[in-house]
Symmetry: C2
Subunit: 392 residues, 2 copies
């Protein structure tokens, strides 16, 4: 068996305007390019406390159980779901995007029975439908998505949906993967019981340690489970024994990722969370202005526009693959295609964290305009860039 002969790592310098990862601030990479320490080192133990405080800041919560899960976003998602859901629980999940289906699969594997509240892909849930689903199924847990990465749709009335669940004595799990640090979110004020997110979206940290927070009601349900959670690696009572005061060894934390996450969250705190939400609105709003000035159409209605992930209808006369390929090959820009019911129908243009900057949206609007013009679509690239510029 010969040694494989692989060359030096030379990744291309992409402008990351897809559904994540977003571009990483050099300070975050610098924090990861430091001496590693042990996961039980006294220095690291202090870092753990700081990361938890920073996570509470971005989630807008005082929740004790607030920690980064040692995996990418789907790991914090499954940690939330697989600990909260006990065999026999009924779990209400949405059908209006890819991540509702993932919730459903995770809840079923945890032993839950799942029921659905429907909405078309690309539209938010309607509170009336949620109310009806509660009346019909009396679920124990309601999971839904604040910012659907697969469709670029914002759920604009999170606190209202949480209130419906609480009035039926159900707990809520809210997916904030594509909203945390980019879209207004108040875990405590809105009463959210469990929320999970990812590092590589609006926090702009390489993926590998993923934010999760749970309130006391969720914690109490987990601590009074009759059966163990089905995944040892994601067992929150054991994780909390490491992240909490006991500092008991559970598994080796991804130390370097935690260093990076700390720096990325520090940058969020320096900017200020509300200013950061406003920046996403402003920069992505300028992108939207450019897109619309080009004659293209947004897929979401205005109250469900998701500034961190813009769903744009693919115009007639060109296919999405061509646009994506030319953006990467000719401009080094990554955006993404639609999924599921929206496959071939939309472009997904992210505007998250360190990627959400004026130079990136100007460059994207210019590049997209040039490509569409070249492909024979009737657009005016110059007007589009001007509209973007005016809105910045």
């Amino acid at each position: 068996m010969e040694e494989p002969n692989v060359g030096e790592l030379k990744p291309p310098e992409r402008v990351l305007l897809g559904p994540g990862p977003s571009n990483v601030h050099p300070r975050v990479l610098g924090a990861m390019n430091t001496s590693i320490v042990g996961h039980l080192d006294p220095y690291f133990v202090d870092i753990m406390d700081e990361v938890q405080d920073l996570l509470r800041y971005v989630f807008r919560t005082d929740n004790e159980w607030t920690l980064p899960v040692s995996g990418t976003g789907s790991a914090s998602m499954e940690a939330g779901i697989s600990n909260l859901v006990e065999p026999g629980d009924t779990v209400l999940v949405p059908s209006n995007g890819y991540f509702g289906a993932r919730m459903e699969s995770m809840a079923q594997r945890a032993g839950g029975e799942t029921v659905r509240v429907d909405a078309p892909w690309g539209e938010p849930l309607d509170a009336v439908d949620v109310q009806e689903a509660f009346n019909e199924h009396q679920p124990d847990i309601f999971g839904f998505v604040q910012a659907e990465t697969s469709t670029g749709t914002l759920q604009p009335d999170v606190s209202e949906l949480v209130d419906i669940a609480h009035s039926h004595d159900a707990l809520t799990i809210v997916d904030t993967v594509t909203s945390l640090g980019g879209v207004e979110l108040h875990v405590d004020d809105w009463g959210i019981d469990v929320s999970y997110s990812a590092a590589q979206k609006c926090i702009s940290c390489p993926p590998g340690a993923s934010p999760l927070t749970l309130n006391d009601d969720a914690m109490d349900k987990i601590l009074s489970r009759e059966t163990e959670p089905r995944c040892w690696y994601l067992d929150l009572a054991e994780l909390e024994d490491y992240w909490g005061d006991n500092r008991s060894y559970h598994h080796t934390a991804p130390v370097t990722n935690i260093f990076g996450l700390r720096e990325a969250l520090r940058i969020v705190a320096e900017e200020g969370i509300e200013e950061r939400w406003n920046r996403h609105l402003r920069v992505s709003g300028a992108l939207k202005s450019g897109i619309e000035a080009m004659g293209l159409e947004m897929n979401s209605r205005d109250d469900a526009w998701l500034p961190t992930l813009n769903a744009v209808r693919v115009p007639d006369g060109v296919d999405d693959d061509t646009i994506l390929r030319r953006l990467v090959e000719e401009y080094n820009i990554e955006i993404s295609a639609g999924l599921g019911d929206l496959e071939g129908e939309i472009l997904r243009i992210g505007c998250m964290g360190h990627s959400a900057r004026a130079q990136n949206v100007l460059y994207l609007v210019d590049a997209l305009g040039e490509i569409l013009d070249d492909e024979g679509v009737d657009v005016s690239p110059g007007d589009a860039v001007a509209a973007t510029s005016d809105a910045l």
Copy 2:
């Protein structure tokens, strides 16, 4: 809710001679300090192939299903166990260390019934006992540990134990967390069905993407499961759909960790796997010579000496906490204490990967000798360093 005020990251420069993480080569940190790309980027897809080839090289296998799991070592451990074990399977696990107990917990959560083969902590399993356990319980799966991190014990006869399992039509899961890349291991030649490891031990990469390999027999069992694996995040059939030819999105890979793992494995390949095993024997053997010249005693018998993690009896007249604390505070050296049945009885001194170098073991032997001398233990630090030097 105020912004937490946390300062600049300034981790201390530890000499990492504990049970992991080991020190990371600057080239590995450099590879992580590069532009991030998307997890479906064509550039990253090529990187994935290279990482898989490099993993096959260190595991000494041609297994198609060879991939890094998106989490730390316990994630690849649970990926192996929770996919292979189906509800109702009987799983034989060892009782001679911490990680056998972890296997047991994971197998039970996957729905398996567990039975044990016993040996004292600090001793390897006896093949006769394994044979008897097979005769008594007829397990479907036998999990055991090549290199017990909790006790510093090598299982010297891995292929013999695998043969016993195969003669009873059972599959094997071998923990190589503290052996892969540091201790002789031949997954294919020894007939191992499933083996998992970690990045931060003898591979010397920050933890976060963890090696796993499965042969065709294990793959066939998984692909013919009647129930879904209980953890979505670690579902190997779905992971293989992303890492294999389909490249179907499952979850976001920890791109930066994969970059680091690739560089760490490149360094292994440049050194050559056999030369790397020999280096661990030579450098750790010198450490052992120094320890013994000091008058201290190794905990493991000679044929179960684990060069990557040396278990040293705590001498009379001093407690382990004092030694560990003084090593960190006065010398910036991390070693570790005993666990479970060996708590307070042993020191665990790692010698792994980039940490397994002459300067580190000379420094540790010198520091340990000075501390013990200062604490009133009758040792001769100068002789110990001389013995270490002679053996290098």
